[in-house]
């Protein structure tokens, strides 16, 4: 079963310095029909104006991933971590028993476009932690590059998260195709981050998402003139 979540039907926040599209309910946008999918709770498509950002605020019991498409994201938190994140870098923060953090556009001249992703952890009160790693963009070209998952010490490196879920990224040129088998009982979410892709014959334009259940495999294909960039979540 494939259920399309169209880009234009997502919730939207426009705060001047921030334009955010919410695939699932978030902040002032609440829709009981879109509260998340399996362990995937938040999928925000955020554009932050130069020099602006999210001031100090707190979280607990959430696995928070940031995936930058354009620009820089400057991170600072109560664990003493202070980093700048760009495209082809991944940030994963386990809020666990509690963190306070801020996220700002790391540039005073260029906007930042990034996906903010929250996954519900498998248990409450875990010790807060922060991870960041960079990868070669060639590693997601025409193939699914593991970004985060429940396995430790993966090669090449991926972020560890406290949940039976895996997040992959891929950039597909027009006609470039990937097959992904889905084990029985598992689910998937496909988010088109940029361009155009076809998933099992269904076209996803930029910002569209697709909930996948009771399917045995996915065929992901780049479409349009330039292909697309996608995020795939493999979920229990």
């Amino acid at each position: 079963m494939l259920i399309l979540r169209k880009a234009e039907e997502r919730g939207k926040s426009d705060l001047g310095w921030l334009t955010s599209y919410h695939t699932f309910s978030f902040g002032g946008y609440t829709d009981p029909n879109h509260m998340g999918f399996r362990a995937l709770r938040v999928l925000n498509d955020d554009r932050v104006a130069p020099g602006k950002g999210f001031g100090a605020h707190g979280h607990r019991d959430m696995e928070i991933l940031s995936y930058v498409l354009e620009g820089k994201l400057a991170h600072k938190d109560s664990m003493g971590e202070e980093h700048v994140l760009g495209p082809n870098e991944v940030q994963a923060m386990s809020a666990g028993s509690g963190v306070i953090h801020s996220e700002f556009n790391g540039s005073d001249t260029e906007p930042t476009h990034f996906f903010q992703i929250w996954l519900i952890p498998e248990s409450r009160g875990i010790k807060p932690s922060y991870q960041q790693f960079a990868y070669d963009p060639g590693e997601k070209r025409g193939t699914l590059r593991l970004i985060a998952g429940p396995d430790t010490n993966t090669d090449p490196p991926a972020a560890f998260i406290h949940q039976d879920a895996r997040m992959y990224a891929a950039v597909l040129g027009d006609g470039e195709t990937i097959h992904y088998p889905i084990p029985k009982g598992r689910h998937a979410w496909v988010q088109n981050a940029a361009g155009q892709i076809d998933v099992n014959g269904m076209t996803l334009k930029e910002g569209d998402g697709l909930a996948v259940s009771d399917e045995t495999s996915l065929t992901l294909r780049g479409a349009g003139t330039a292909g697309g960039e996608l995020l795939l979540f493999d979920l229990a």
């Binding site: 950002g53 001031g55 605020h57 707190g58 607990r60 509690g98 306070i100 801020s102």
Partner: protein
Amino acid sequence: MGDINALVVFYSRYGTTEKLALAAGLGAIQADANIRLRRVADRADAATIDADANWKKNLDRMNRDYVVPRPADPVWADVIILATPEDISTEVESYVSSLSSLGSMNGKVAAPLAPGSRQSALKPIYSAAACCGLIVAPCGESSDDPIASATAFGQRVTEMARALKRGRESFT
């Protein structure tokens, strides 16, 4: 989402009191509160601040990370953590004195703290909080680890606010 709303209001020039406020806020989160972090604006004029490079540098940084308290914040809060520097209490005291004009503070918890638990800084804030109907929860004596103490204080006053809220609900 937690069942208790904790507002953390602080005044800081060089970041010391900010660290205490963040530690207390973290304690509130650990005790399952929703938090808002707010910095009270300086009363000093721009020329005075500009003449102190360290103050100016920290102010520019803090102005990015925090907004000033909004009128809706204390109305939203079940507990208001108030962090003041050890030698200046005017900014936070003035803030507390303004609260009763924003709505009833009766039964909410005020939780003042200061570096070294300096009583001369805390007493005006205790007094201002009590005058507007807040239940004052003193932070007690300072310890060797002020950050850990502030975190424990944030947890303790959140639990206190929770117990009061549940108590009130059991009567209605």
